[in-house]
Symmetry: C2
Subunit: 335 residues, 2 copies
């Protein structure tokens, strides 16, 4: 059902009964250390390359999710996946391991939000169980977007650290019988590009898109920001979050007091991880490990999850292009 120009509520109830996550070493030793499901000490995890390890991360988390839900792969109607690598190879290569219809998505680090919105539509179209899985990996992203790790290049002051990890969530049409998070509505993002060209300052490139989507969501649902316990963006980092709060309070959308960011939450203060986490796995790992537990346990009732993406490529930056940002918002509530 259309609630506004960009906002829709599912016609059937859309539940998120089960999640699974996996994290790298830094992520598992950060602020969320007591919440992470499973972690690996080594980014290669016994694989011959970091790219293959990212695929294995996805295999592991998808398999664990299916087992946890007491299902078989054949019970899953669709696997929605995305990551940051060229041609989303970890997603499609991992999908080889499962005889499940596959749909590859790409909205950079906003893919998790996009996948939850599309999964809601799939439930409406007659599917019963859909898996949304997004991942990222520090080593694969560094060498694809920036420099090989072996060079030991210093990060710039505004840079963030790509999260090594993956989160997968089961989207279901049936009430599991316990307090269960639900997708109650979602607002799709538009591409917003204010001309930021610094590929090491993603927070600044994405904050205007996050602002645009959050403002549209609140306007179209008629909700005020304090309807939500928390409005949580994907990976703006500390600078991007500051810019977002400035935009929101300047335009009197909200005062920003309940606005946080997965990228700001994941690492501890003492970890040398730049201005916070980033990557397509950032919001999915933080949702699956942390927010999902708080919602289920009754410590939170309603969150607006707003994964944010920077739609650049290495080539687009080399050709002098600015960075288009996007953010998709998903309201997740227990009711």
């Amino acid at each position: 059902m259309k609630l506004g120009k960009r906002t829709y509520a599912p016609d059937k109830r859309v539940f998120l009964p089960y999640v699974a996550d996996i994290a790298g070493n830094d992520e598992a030793n950060g602020n969320l250390r007591h919440y992470i499901d499973f972690s690996t000490d080594c980014g290669e995890w016994g694989c011959p390359s970091h790219e293959k390890a990212e695929t294995k991360f996805r295999d592991d988390v998808t398999m664990r999710l299916i087992e946890r839900a007491g299902l078989d792969a054949e019970d899953i109607d669709c696997l929605l996946g995305g990551d940051l690598l060229n041609q989303i190879v970890p997603s499609s290569f991992s999908a080889r391991s499962f005889a499940i219809p596959f749909s590859g998505l790409y909205c950079a680090c906003a893919t998790f939000g996009q996948s939850l919105a599309i999964a809601s539509m799939m439930i409406g179209a007659g599917m019963s169980k859909v898996i949304c899985c997004t991942s990222s990996h520090f080593a694969t992203a560094e060498r694809q977007y920036r420099y090989p790790l072996e060079l030991g290049t210093q990060p710039t002051p505004a840079s963030q650290r790509t999260v090594t990890g993956a989160g997968a969530v089961l989207v279901s049409d049936s009430y599991p019988g316990w307090r269960c998070p639900e997708i109650t509505c979602y607002t799709l993002g538009e591409i917003i590009d204010l001309g930021c060209t610094d590929a090491n300052n993603m927070g600044a490139a994405m904050a205007p898109a996050a602002y645009d989507t959050i403002a549209a969501h609140l306007r179209e649902t008629g909700r005020s920001a304090d309807y939500y316990d928390l409005i949580v963006t994907g990976d703006l980092g500390r600078l991007g979050r500051e810019l977002l709060v400035e935009l929101l309070s300047h335009d009197k959308v909200c005062d920003g007091s309940n606005v946080n960011d997965c990228g700001c939450l994941i690492y501890g203060e003492k970890q040398k991880c730049g201005l916070g986490g980033s990557g397509a796995g950032c919001s999915s790992l933080v949702y699956c490990s942390y927010f999902h537990k708080l919602l289920t346990a009754g410590q939170l009732n309603r969150i607006l999850l707003v994964p944010t993406g920077a739609m650049l490529s290495k080539d687009s930056s080399l050709q002098g292009e600015s960075i288009p940002g996007i953010a998709h918002a998903v309201a997740i509530e227990c009711r």
Copy 2:
């Protein structure tokens, strides 16, 4: 409504009233020369790079489609886009030009089928107008996947030519008042990988996926192959099509007499374009320029469009991986 494990019929009627397309020089001088909307002599089309030209192709075709439908950009509920470049930059950079919610998709050359299926779900979720646009470009694909054109590398015998072009289709919830193609059902593809590692023989890598999806579609709908005037794959090329027909007839799914391929149709016999066209723009250009006109004119009544994709990247090939294939089938009928 679920018709089978992988097949769904839209609950509301889903119409395809308008299309627009653009082609490069070779494509505009091939078999479909009397059907192509608009073409450019030069692959750069006044842009400083081929990548920017591919973005301009998309801008042009999207704008033309919106105008042709007598709409404004604000009437469009979502822009579903995909292409072959890293991080689908032509799609997201083109989406900057339109204030339309954007959802980036990636299933390689099967993206057009995926986009039509997801657009059908979006109409079901309450959207009224969705645009599906996919594109590819010979020069951008060559230098990303193979070698820069300046090297003048010889193509191998099994290779195909990436189509320079784009097709965009308006997916609508309302009957336009004339004989209009409709999406009546769709079958989602699974990743199929039989171990082909030759990145210059995409037809062989994708044919098993096309077989799998076509067989699933016919089984789950209870239709025989001759229900359709034509079953048309995306870009198998001549070798891939031969393999597909062999698989279909071996397993007695059908005799292959009404099976064709967009990649086999697009270029003329005398054009030196390898075993046919390929690319995310191949099936969308051929549908929008050719099949859509035949359906509207009553020369065809029902086709099963099965865009096919090879989910490799340059890195995955260099790391010795085989090529996962995928195919999504969409039944397009006039009734």
